[in-house]
């Protein structure tokens, strides 16, 4: 299976013009690595027979986390849209690995955007190389979409903050070296960088009954009298954490949307290949009009989703606001992905329903219409922007 296809070349050409050929080379080379070293391990990860650290290491060694960061911190200073396309390819190879790295990169993004120079120099190089792994801890057992109602507290104690509370559904929990934890402080919500080795940070049992994304580690993270040095750990201004989280999630939604495009494309290509070879009533499955409708709809929706994600990415590159476009892209891409994977299962019939290697794509895609902003909340955000008075 070729992960980098003509549609990627065409998107790069239409959005980046003369620079496209360089990005083509980059993504084609990245795709070859994914095809050789990640794609073959993906089914095993879903079935609990592999270790995500192995596939994540391949992507870190390639430099996936370095793509859009400044060179002074070890980054490659490439456009955010190129990173977004790379994440689509990663999602096509293995969704769990892509999501794990996508969330890790969101923490790196937080440090790059809101960290002090000391925090950037201390943490960014090791996060961008993948020497250290990060986790993003915002959701709580009783607050997901309404993150403002979080109950985790951070109280000032001299030069320290003391964190108490619980975070839920945390990707990379138990593996991460650094956790970005959001907590209420007297001045509002604040963000803290907590070392995984902190004795006040406890990781619960892995959530093993997940529908999909079974290769990634998910667990509850509890903070019990968790002392962190204020100077080292407070990320950005005290009380500015929630606004920061919203900005981070705008970017992350584009990435999660692109991972979903990748998931959809892999399921689609499997269904396409099957429809060419399967015969019934003396014809190929692909000869039936109702099959062709599914094949056409899949391409239309994948291209539309990719383009809307890339539109949001290009707005970000230009320093323009893109919160609504990112939300639109995520809603479209995540819901499209579940539809396209469902159509793939339908085309493969009994084999689609009974084979992990087909239905896992639907199971993986299903998460991303919930995490990083549920579709319902994002629709509220999009509609509220439309209802704002226009100047």
């Amino acid at each position: 299976m070729k992960l980098f296809g003509p549609e990627h070349e065409r998107v790069l050409l239409s959005l980046y013009g003369d620079a496209a050929s360089e990005f083509d080379d980059l993504l084609r080379s990245f795709s070859a690595v994914l095809e050789a070293k990640v794609l073959p391990l993906s089914l095993g990860l879903d079935q609990g027979k592999g270790d995500i650290a192995e596939t994540r290491r391949v992507l870190f060694d390639q430099g996936l986390s370095k793509l859009s960061y400044p060179e002074r911190y070890g980054g490659l200073a490439l456009p955010f849209g190129v990173y977004a396309l790379a994440m689509e390819l990663a999602g096509a190879a293995d969704a769990s690995t892509a999501m794990s790295i996508g969330i890790h990169n969101t923490v790196a993004d937080a440090i790059a955007q809101f960290g002090s120079e000391e925090q950037r120099r201390r943490l960014l190089p090791s996060l961008l190389s993948g020497e250290k792994l990060a986790a993003f801890a915002l959701t709580e057992p009783s607050s997901g979409s309404d993150a403002r109602s979080m109950s985790t507290r951070a109280a000032k104690d001299g030069k320290y903050f003391v964190l108490d509370g619980s975070k839920m559904f945390i990707t990379n929990a138990g593996e991460a070296d650094v956790y970005l934890v959001f907590a209420s402080t007297p001045g509002g919500h604040s963000a803290f960088l907590v070392e995984g080795s902190n004795s006040g940070l406890k990781v619960g049992s892995p959530l093993r009954e997940k529908l999909g994304m079974r290769g990634s580690h998910t667990a509850e993270v509890r903070l019990e009298r968790c002392h962190v040095a204020a100077e080292d750990s407070l990320l950005g201004e005290e009380g500015a954490g929630f606004e920061g989280a919203k900005k981070l999630l705008d970017s992350s939604r584009v990435i999660m949307g692109m991972i979903c495009v990748g998931i959809a494309r892999t399921a689609y290509l499997k269904a396409l290949a099957y429809s060419r070879s399967r015969e019934l009533f003396g014809k190929k499955l692909s000869d039936f009009q109702l099959t062709r409708e599914k094949l056409a709809d899949g391409v239309i929706e994948m291209n539309a989703s990719r383009l809307l994600c890339m539109h949001a990415a290009r707005l970000k590159e230009r320093g323009l606001t893109f919160a609504s476009e990112a939300a639109q892209a995520k809603v479209l891409a995540t819901e499209m992905s579940a539809r396209t994977c469902d159509a793939a299962i339908q085309l493969l019939g009994g084999y689609g329903y009974t084979t992990d290697d087909v239905h896992r794509h639907w199971r993986d895609a299903r998460l991303l219409a919930i995490g990083e902003g549920a579709s319902e909340v994002l629709r509220l955000l999009i509609a509220s922007r439309e209802l704002e008075p226009k100047t």
Binding site: K2, E22, D24, D25, L26, R28, S29, F30, A32, V33, A36, K37, D61, Q62, G63, L64, K66, L67, L76, L78, S277, R278
Partner: protein
């Protein structure tokens, strides 16, 4: 050590389609660096890492060969030389070896020329030997192991019941096998750096002289050997399915 590594931007056999008469549709066919040539590039890079020097990546082919050159440069090539020849003007094996030899002579002092056992599309495996003859260099074919020590090259050739060790003074031409090494994957940073390295374009006319060999050799037909795959799904419990598989293999004459 100055190394030249040869590569071909071959037709991607996995993407190749045939017309109704069984002839491959070469026009517009997807291409990629010949898989075997990745072993050649890897060997060149390993030798450079051990002995220092330069690697010139040399190819003869159409405009889309640039991406294969860039890939080889990302793996560790120092510079690229592209002899431009679109498929309709591409010479035969001897002609290709002639142009490559002329280009290598222009590069200057060359210690080692590395090529692979053959191209992954046509697999004629002729150019390496012809090139060695035209350069008046010894040719060490099908090397499964390559060592360069003190101005000499030593290669191991594998046979069914033994190993033959060949040794000669440099300069020499060596062809490697897919089992000789495991080609590396360049990182994204290496791909980026390679995209900024220079590739020299050379026209066929700049290399062709009066000594161009006319072979009279002509490919009169090229067809794809059809491989009919049977999609046979065996249902039932493992024991039952195993019996069905055994029977199916016997019916096919495999057992």
């Amino acid at each position: 050590m100055n190394i030249v590594v040869l590569l071909k931007n071959a037709v991607d056999e996995a993407e190749l389609r045939a017309d109704p008469s069984g002839h491959p549709i070469l026009k517009g066919a997807a291409t990629k660096m010949s898989n075997f040539d990745k072993n050649g590039v890897e060997e060149a890079v390993r030798q450079k890492e051990e002995h220092g020097g330069t690697i010139t990546v040399l190819t003869l082919g159409g405009a889309d060969s640039k991406k294969a050159i860039r890939e080889a440069m990302a793996m560790g090539g120092t510079k690229g030389v592209h002899i431009l020849a679109e498929p309709e003007a591409a010479p035969d094996s001897l002609g290709t070896a002639y142009y490559l030899a002329k280009a290598i002579k222009r590069i200057g002092e060359v210690d080692l020329v590395v090529c692979s056992e053959g191209a992954s599309d046509t697999y004629q495996g002729q150019v390496g030997a012809m090139l060695a003859e035209l350069l008046d260099m010894p040719f060490l074919a099908y090397a499964k192991k390559v060592e360069v020590v003190g101005g000499k090259i030593r290669c191991e050739q594998g046979f069914e019941r033994g190993v033959r060790v060949l040794e000669t003074k440099l300069p020499a031409v060596v062809s490697v096998l897919s089992e000789t090494n495991v080609p590396r994957y360049p990182t994204l940073l290496q791909v980026m750096v390679a995209s900024k390295k220079a590739i020299e374009d050379v026209q066929l006319s700049a290399l062709k002289e009066s000594d161009y060999p006319e072979t009279g050799f002509e490919v009169v037909a090229l067809t794809i050997q059809p491989v009919n795959r049977k999609r046979l799904i065996l249902e039932g419990q493992p024991e039952e399915a195993a019996k069905k598989l055994l029977m199916a293999l016997k019916q096919e004459g495999v057992l």
